[in-house]
């Protein structure tokens, strides 16, 4: 994988506490799976950076190789790969997502 591309991803997930690689933007998701993760993060009041892979074919392919994960969306917390839509949803339902975010020092709205 191209060095510049992996550096760019590495910088993004380091500079932002929570990053979601997704199809579309947090305001206008272009895919139901991406929309589902945006909705969960929003519900938790988590500030995150959305990276629209549809706007950048190099990132779209690159993030799959970088994460060794063939699908979008992909969630990163403090530089660590958490998973895709199924995993994020399961972790949200069990409370593990909230725990993970809090343990990494990310502000979560407690309901």
């Amino acid at each position: 994988m191209d060095q510049n591309l992996s550096d760019r991803i590495r910088n993004d997930i380091k500079a932002n506490e929570v990053v979601l690689y997704m199809k579309g933007t947090p305001i206008f998701p272009q895919c139901g799976f991406s929309a589902a993760v945006v909705q969960l993060l929003t519900q938790l009041g988590v500030k995150f950076k959305g990276v629209d892979v549809l706007a950048d074919p190099a990132i779209r392919q690159g993030i799959k190789e970088f994460s060794n994960w063939p699908t979008i969306p992909q969630l990163y917390v403090k530089g660590e790969f958490v998973g895709g839509c199924d995993i994020v949803r399961e972790m949200f339902q069990s409370g593990e997502l909230q725990e993970l975010l809090q343990s990494r020092g990310v502000n979560v709205k407690v309901s």
């Binding site: 272009q30 895919c31 958490v82 998973g83």
Partner: protein, 96 residues
């Protein structure tokens, strides 16, 4: 061969599942960017396999993705996954 049959054959060989449910959801995504005429692009797969014991969620899904790498590259646009060990599956059913 239908894509669902290929998925079944490959996952059976890779993971020896005790239970394997494959649902073709493609019709629900008709007209969406990843959908294709003829469907067979969107699937939901639920797998119960002893091979998942001691593995994280991410590791489990990577095992599934590895077995279906060719399909995910070309034909399969979306794969919703639920993975359970036999123990987890039993506990889950008792709760229901």
């Amino acid at each position: 061969m239908a894509v669902a049959d290929i998925i079944r054959r490959k996952l059976s060989a890779a993971l020896s599942p005790l239970r394997l449910d494959i649902v073709d959801d493609s019709h629900r995504h008709a007209g969406h960017s990843g959908a294709r005429a003829g469907g067979e692009t969107h699937f939901t797969v639920e797998i119960v396999a002893a091979a998942f014991a001691g593995k994280s969620r991410v590791e489990r899904q990577r095992m599934v993705y590895a077995a279906l790498a060719d399909e995910l590259r070309v034909q399969v646009h979306a794969l919703a996954l639920a993975t359970f060990t036999p123990d987890e599956d039993r506990a889950r059913r008792q709760r229901d």
